[in-house]
Amino acid sequence: MTDTAQAPGAATIPGRVTEAPVARRRRLPVKGSAVVMALYLLFLMLPLYWLLNMSLKTNAEILGSFTLWPRNLTLENYATILTDPSWYQGYINSLLYVTMNVVITLTVALPAAYAFSRYHFMGDKHLFFWLLTNRMAPPAVFALPFFQLYSSVNLFDTHIAVALAHCLFNVPLAVWILEGFMRGVPKEIDETAYIDGYSFPKFFVKIFMPLIASGIGVAAFFAFMFSWVELLLSRTLTSVDAKPIAATMTRTVGASGVDWGVLAAAGVLTIVPGALVIWFVRNYIAKGFALGRV
């Protein structure tokens, strides 16, 4: 410790003696936050881990003893899902109508949001607010009318039926999000493009959409998430041909009881697409929650 009494310039020379107290002072708070962080992650990840854990066990092990990790590691459950059409068809159905929904939502919401951000027309503010009130009703309210309506126009049990039903909730949100992003783009850019000779469609695709790309990403993300997670409408409006995975998972009680392992594997596979989407848009999420109105 005698080294601490050195001349001021000497402190810049790295030496173990001068470094030690700094490190010791730092370690303690790190320890505290590490504990909190570890606990937080533990509670956060425990359900996910348990799902993964179950999906890799046999039914006998799940029902038999309490094990923290699979004693007999098996991929049998995943194999079942990926080979049995009644299982994997559920994923295909879900992905199909979710994709349709995202595409329809963006195609409808982009022009609508542009109109709201650029033009004044009679009742524009009221209409804008009214759009949002569509989200205030729970999906269950619409289950019955949709069921009757789609049955009578022969759309029952089709992918497009679910996609359209979800648009009722997704289009208003997408319009709301996109309008915020669009308002951040000065109107002079539109005009400069017209003066340069861009037609409206060309301007919209080539100049405007790149400027609000993150908004489009966020809107697509919210539409995807709602449509992927929503169960009630998608189950009500389908029976066999367009049955979503979430509905398949709720109908797994067979003659031999509940097939726990397969169900857990299905759960894991259901999380994957959502996790992937979140990974891709993670940088824009914060801005999206601000709805572009920063």
Partner: protein, 359 residues
């Protein structure tokens, strides 16, 4: 090439933004729209570009009616006060974009862009995005895009207002040269009389949505048709003083007088003079002396602005050199009658100042 505005007016939500206006702009001319903020410069420019449709009147391009025609078909170029570029494209693509839409070949585009970029000194930045440039470079990029298009009508809406002083001086000197070669009609909006004088060409002075006068810049400056034009075309604004003319003499009050210009009948008039013609010392034999209260002084470095109260009028004087003056003090200022414009009670010019007549 001519652009003609016939009785063009614009009203938005019952409010008149532009009063009926007739204007004829000739090819190869620089036309400055001069007026304070909210005078209607931008509105008039948007009407010329076709971004807004006039409420009444017609806009003729080379004799053809282009009122209500799509902007895309008008063949105009415009630069805004804000630096407007396409943020998602590189500087090269920004400048090239009007040419691409005209269907020019790759070689033509490359040559034209390189030429415009060299003129605007943007060559080292062609691969950058506009937002990675400084403000001046961004505006030069917007100017290059307007230049490269070779449009018949180029509209510049206060293009230098958001730039720093040095860059503004530089670009202001370049712009007339750059665009003169193209032979197009240029319209340049500005709030600064000094800028209008430096750019030369024609000037249209605007006041509250009205074009008060249109003509060659020096002659509008020397012989404004009315008090409003004179006020707009003077920075700080022109000073006014109520005077009477009797028996061929102008009575300036305090027993002072000077010979009245020919044709001025007896009656009440308004005398106007520019701030730079006031002086703190008796600079000529014939100078009139006015007792004023000094309100404020502003020192800009080489000049001093003095704000004076005289008989209910606020005057501003622009005095050379730095003067240490105490606000509130009685001050005598001097004015040569040769620098005095005479307007009638309605504001119409009766006689320009003798010095302007001589020039």
């Amino acid at each position: 090439m001519t652009l003609t505005l016939e009785n063009v007016s614009l009203a938005v939500d019952g409010q008149t933004h532009i009063h009926p206006t007739d204007l004829a702009l000739e090819a190869g001319t620089m036309n400055v729209l001069l007026g304070p903020t909210l005078a209607g410069k931008t509105s008039l420019m948007r009407l010329m570009a076709g971004l807004d449709v006039p409420t009444t009147g017609r806009i003729l391009w080379q004799g053809d009616d282009v009122t209500g025609m799509r902007v895309q078909d008008r063949g105009v170029a415009m630069v805004y006060q804000q630096f407007i570029n396409y943020p998602s494209m590189t500087v090269f693509e920004n400048i090239a974009s009007p040419l691409r839409l005209l269907g020019k070949s790759k070689d033509e585009i490359a040559t034209a862009v390189d030429r415009a970029a060299a003129l605007m000194r943007l060559t080292p930045f062609l691969d950058r995005k506009p937002l990675e440039l400084s403000g001046g470079q961004q505006q030069r990029c917007a100017l290059a895009r307007a230049l490269v298009k070779d449009a018949g009508l180029v509209l510049l809406d206060e293009p230098l207002a958001n730039l720093d002083y040095k860059l503004r001086e530089e670009l202001r000197a370049e712009i007339p040269n750059i665009f003169r070669e193209a032979g197009s009609i240029f319209v340049y909006a500005t709030t600064e009389p000094e800028e209008a004088l430096l750019l030369g060409g024609n000037v249209a002075t605007l006041w509250e949505g009205r074009v008060t006068q249109f003509g060659p810049t020096p002659s509008v400056y020397r012989k404004p048709v009315d008090a409003t034009t004179a006020r707009v075309f003077s920075d700080p604004p022109m000073n006014f003083l109520d005077v009477t003319v009797a028996g061929g003499r102008v009575d300036y009050g305090d027993g002072q007088g000077a010979a009245a210009p020919a044709g001025a009948a007896d009656g009440a008039y308004r005398a106007g003079f520019r701030p730079n013609h006031l002086d703190l010392s008796r600079h000529t034999e014939t100078a009139l002396a006015f007792e004023c209260d000094l309100a404020v002084t502003e020192i800009t470095g080489s000049e001093t602005f003095v704000h004076l109260d005289h008989a209910g009028h606020r005057w501003v004087g622009l005095i050379h050199g730095v003067r240490e003056l105490t606000p509130g003090a009685r001050t005598t200022v001097y004015l040569d009658p040769a620098h005095v414009y005479l307007f009638d009670a309605g504001g119409t010019l009766v006689a320009p100042a003798p010095y302007a007549e001589a020039a």
